[in-house]
Amino acid sequence: MSNSFRTTNSTGLINKDKKINFTFNGTIYHGYEGDTLASALIANGVHLVGRSFKYHRPRGFLGVGVEEPNAMVQLHDGNKSEPNIIATEVELVEGLKAKSQNCWPSVQFDIGEINNVLNRFFPAGFYYKTFMWPKSFWMKIYEPFIRKAAGMGKAPLLPDPDRYEHNYEHCDVLVVGSGPSGLASALAAAKNGARVILAEDKPNFGGSLLTDEVTIGNMSGKEWASDTISQLKSMPNVILKKRSQVFGYYDHNMTVMIERVSDHIENPSKYTPRQRLHYIRAGEVIVSTGSIERPISFGNNDRPGIVLASAAKEYMKVYETLVGKKPIIFTNNDTAYSTALEFIKNDIEPIIVDTRDSSNGELVKEVQQKGISIKFNSGIADTKGHLKINSAIIGKLDSSKESFISEETVECDCICMSGGWTPTVHLSSQAGNKLKFNDDIDAFVPDKKRQKETAIGAANGSFTLNQSLAEGFQVGFDLSNKFTDQNNPTNSPNSNEPSYEKHEKLWCMPLPSGKKPKRFIDFQNDVAVSDVELAIREGFRSIEHVKRYTTLGMAGDQGKTSNLNGLQYVSKIEKKIVPEVGHTTFRPPYTPVTIGAIVGREVGNHYLPTRKSPIHTWHEENNAVFVAAGLWQRPRYYPMGSEDMNSAVNREAANVRKNVGICDVTTLGKIDIKGPDAPEFLNRVYTNAWLKLPVGKARYGVMLREDGMVFDDGTTSRLSENHFHMTTTTAQAANVLSHLEYYLQVVWPDLDVNVLSTTEQWSGIAVAGPKSRDLLSKLFPDVDMSNEGLPFMGLVDSSIDGIKARIYRISFSGELAYEVNVESNYGLYTWKKIMEVGQSFDIQPYGTEALSTLRIEMGHVAGAELDGRTIPFDVGLNSMVSQKKDFIGKRSLSKDAFTESDRQTIVGLVPLDKKTKIPEGSHIIEDNSAVAPIPKLGHVSSSCWSVEYNNPFSIAIIKDGKNKIGKNLYAVSPLKDISIPVEVVSSHYVDPEGSRVRS
């Protein structure tokens, strides 16, 4: 079969000179440039595309665009494979591969169709009523069975090779949809000087003008559309975007649009994104999204070949494709007659079934004038044809239209149905617009706006061209006037279109006599009229309950063609008017959006930015293993030869204790604090006293949150009377700066202090160990490095090879130690220099693990202890808490629970065997033979191998810790099946007097 369903005219938008080959379910077909996968398949006579979700019924095409619920395919192979793509939205490109999904072994013969045979046992919500006995069967048998049936297409298993980009736009007026009202408003707004973005989902601008036989001014609708687009293109204040779907309308007039950039291009450059997500902040949004035709529910109304009448017309007019050659038009309104006329134009005589008693609409008359008789007061009762429709049972309706009087079987190869039109109000609703029900069109339309959003044209329920154009020009001008002072209105041209008679309020046909075929409302999820009836029978009367119980409107199409029909049916059963039944909430996205596009370029290694010190390359060159510290990459250890982590860490730490080590501490937060009130400010921020710190001295400080928990700690130095240099932990650096700004700007605005992060200005290099003094003396021959010259907690400015350097005598390792700060451009040089001069002192670099070992041995607390749940008392910092002054968080420390004497407090632990390292995260218990629940005394926060004593040592925070020193307890890690007898010791394991740092 080769394009035997093409029309002979060439008035559409496909290029028959350019053939495009594609594969569907392994068969090679061809279509033409401008085709969608849907139009190309239909042209080749292929209607069976996939299987439905629940009953695996054969399904074809219902629509022609985003509304399509049925024709979902799996596209491409391997890492480009993509499930659940609706064929109506796929533009044909050479070599495109598509296949059916949710069927096995093939779409023609699908084992899953057994569900359809047994469908009477699977009504809505059946799973809530069964699969409960025996209890163990749920996990083992029932659920695996249900899960196996889950899903439609298959997720790829490999990372996506394509690029997705983002773009932030700001405009005065965003127009969504390029039908007549959209074009008119964009033109009016643009001519009035506003910055306009016009977004169209389809590959062609024009909307209904591409298919409707109308005239505007002296042009056909189609010509007017193309002329308007040319005008807009020439204006510098206009951005035109096709293949672009505005899918979300968020707060403060932020809309989000997805643009398909390169899916339709055969060989796009590897740097061209596949899709681009646009965040558009618009002054005003014009919603001209048109309307979607509604299906009609009747027996077996889901067979391949049953399409929306407007879709059939668009396939003919835009894609030059016939959905069938023996069509039945089934309608409750006049618009479907334009489809009939289009068939007639292609020399095909349709059978027309109209539920109404009569109509005097122009199109109806025109059809009649062509000699076609119309079956008024009739409806389709049922259809036949397994993989494709082959006949319909047409019934004559009785006067109540609740049953059929007579039925006849008519052969056909397609049914083009029309239940009238539903305005596409999704974006307005997302914007917070409470919709109102319009009885004339039997649909919801936007009402009172909450944001700067205006619906026009069919989206606003204005179904005539005249009205759409008038609204478009007026609204476009009015809204643009808010942004410009040109006051340049554009007049709406005259237009001509056929007149229409009113539709009939009938969306569900009676059952044929003696049979109960499924009459579907939601095609993708297989929700039928009987399911809605059942839900209501069981008391699920709210529309939200009906939706959740039956899954109506919850499929990939999110109910675009089913929600309103469902509502109409509920309103009929409940004998309520539709607005009382209400509608379910419209939420973003309007159409499903590729997750990769939402994420953009922050993928892989660039998921989050990485922070690196100026010395980073040296660490890399010297075999460092890195660890993440927030966003920073820090050297964890530097293995030599075949060393594992433990031996490397022990070597590095031991070398600090014995000789001298060097550590990159650039990542520590640094904050410059200046101003006349700086000392007073620090005095309020820290728990200890700061007013009398001499210039040229550093002091250790602890700061709390207002709830009394330790927030951060660090060393702060006084550089001059009113100038301090604060250091923070790496983890809290940004939070501390915000915290300081908060207190200075919000709480104590009277304090005159300026704070500024200088973390990045300085490279910090810690030089620690007994030989550090000798090393520094050599590096800084001009500085008196003696204990008197530069005592513990002193600092001095100097220089090295002409570089300014500041030397702090501070220590985290507990050894005699210094921290050298140089400006960042010289960080690497200085580090190398220290390494070079340090060779003769057996210097070695050490990473964060050795740093941990050194501080744990000394009982210095860090993040593992300061975990946001400890007060100073708990972690042995009570001596840091001033009794004399007030400070942030002090009042909380007097809470009952914070003053209990048996609080969990910091201790040291040594395993009795002096061998077994205690895993961090272990808990401390008294009774090793107890059964769960076992009372816990506390937990192990930090563990190391003590290089001083050559045995394991840990810090723990345990109940009444001080009084447990000397006792034997158990450190247990049930996760690792470990129980270790331990002795409780002081947390200050090495040099408790602190003599080394002062040596």
Binding site: M139, G151, R587, P974
Partner: protein, 418 residues
């Protein structure tokens, strides 16, 4: 009440399902009830059920402003777990897990409890240690927990990014095998159906507009459908707690925040566990329908809107792709938001109040769904006995004054952080 079973399903199939009874009635409110539960969500319905079942109190009304199950029980990510570090939380949620295990049978309603295992991914030794602290605490409390290595995880989620060079390489994880999911709507409907069958009046479209309090005692409730007398009122309104508390002149340590979730389109089964990526504020499970159910962090500012904004969706999905790069070509189908009653220490409040006969159930933060059975159970006890149950004795209001706060995350009284 009709019994649901495979037999009843088959039987009804032959009568075209025309003989099913309503799952719950739609009564007019009576003049007076022994207990009024405000809020027809999971916790309110469960409370009413346990009041009837455990305490024989059946003259109970549930007043629901909209339709039952329309709040957070209908808009969560359906995760069940008891993987808590602190004892008060651990014992409470573990009690709940035990109720979940037999809930379908107890309610004669398949809530699809699915213990597929919940995995917390770790990306460093430090994170593994933090999880070990939690996991060990769980085990000592008699709760299941296991550590998973990189190789274990490779078998369970082979499509995750296991490259050594990725931004946060997967190091291992903590798993609670009994953790999992349940069908959220079914939980609400199942409790409603049983409560209704025992005499509880489920009154929908009935908004509470005020309270009659006299001499420090509750006497009745004013509603959009008239005044109703009662001596006991239980508040189970999650995100709306402050609004009702305001009517009672109660100030609470709670903020309302919106938490968003989203689902992908349904795909064939792929992800068999619940996976959380704490460092990236992302968690995910695959529903029985095939949708990837994904959630993350609060939008970050006080909100009573049941909808959220795009930056958080982007943030969550960015975290998602960092773990599961193959999700990139899946499509996001639907997003929604729920209002979280964020307490200042991240733990719930189930307590009596200073008004006699008014009982408070709130502060569920992100985690109210999994607490549904245990919350209902202990709240029913608290109301019926006028005293707290052992399991909710620490979830009191007093803790914000004594300092015995239960802060699992250690972030302090700033619910919008972390």
């Amino acid at each position: 009440m009709q019994k649901y079973s495979v037999f009843s399903l088959v039987k009804n199939a032959f009568t075209n399902h025309e003989n099913w009874e309503v799952a719950w009635k739609d009564p007019e409110p009576k003049k007076e009830y022994d207990v009024i539960i405000v809020g027809g969500g999971g916790h309110g319905l469960a409370t009413a059920y346990y009041l009837a079942k455990e305490h024989g109190i059946t003259n109970v009304a549930i007043l629901e402003k909209g339709w039952i199950g329309g709040g957070n029980v209908g808009r969560n990510t359906t995760i069940l777990r008891s993987n808590y570090m602190f004892d008060s939380n651990a014992h409470f949620y573990e009690f709940g897990m035990k109720l979940w295990e037999t809930l379908s049978q107890e309610l004669n309603y398949n809530v699809m409890y699915s213990p597929r295992g919940i995995i917390n991914l770790a990306h460093s030794d430090a994170q593994m240690n933090a999880y070990a602290r939690r996991g060990n605490s769980m085990r000592l409390n008699g709760i299941d927990a296991i550590l998973l290595g990189r190789d274990d995880l490779k078998k369970m989620i082979p499509f995750a990014d296991f490259s050594e060079t990725c931004r946060f390489p997967i190091h291992g994880g903590l798993m609670q095998p009994r953790g999992g999911t349940a069908r959220h709507d079914a939980v609400a409907w199942g409790y409603a159906r049983q409560a209704d069958s025992m005499g509880v009046d489920i009154i929908q479209n009935c908004e509470v507009t005020g309270f009659d309090v006299n001499n420090g005692k509750i006497e009745g409730v004013q509603t959009s459908r008239g005044n109703i007398k009662t001596k006991k009122v239980g508040l189970c309104v999650a995100g709306s707690t402050t609004l009702l508390a305001d009517m009672l002149n109660m100030r609470l340590p709670i903020e309302a925040h919106v938490l968003q979730a989203c689902v992908s389109e349904p795909v064939k089964p792929l992800l068999h566990n619940v996976v959380t990526f704490g460092a990236g504020h992302f968690y995910c499970s695959q529903s029985d329908k095939g949708e990837m159910v994904m959630g993350g962090d609060l939008d970050g500012y006080n909100s009573y809107a049941q909808r959220g904004n795009m930056p958080m969706i982007q943030h969550v999905l960015t975290g998602g792709l960092a773990v599961f790069p193959n999700f990139s070509r899946l499509k996001m189908l639907r997003t929604w938001g729920g209002i979280m009653d964020m307490s200042m220490d991240g733990s719930p409040i189930i307590d009596k109040t200073h008004i006699e006969g008014v009982y408070l159930n709130c502060g569920w933060c992100y985690g109210g769904f999994k607490a549904t059975p245990s919350s209902g159970f202990v709240f029913a006890h608290t109301i019926a006995q006028d005293q707290v149950h052992e399991l909710n004795s620490d979830f009191n209001l007093e803790r914000f004054h004594t300092g015995k706060i239960i802060d699992e995350k250690g972030v302090g009284p700033k619910p919008w952080i972390g």
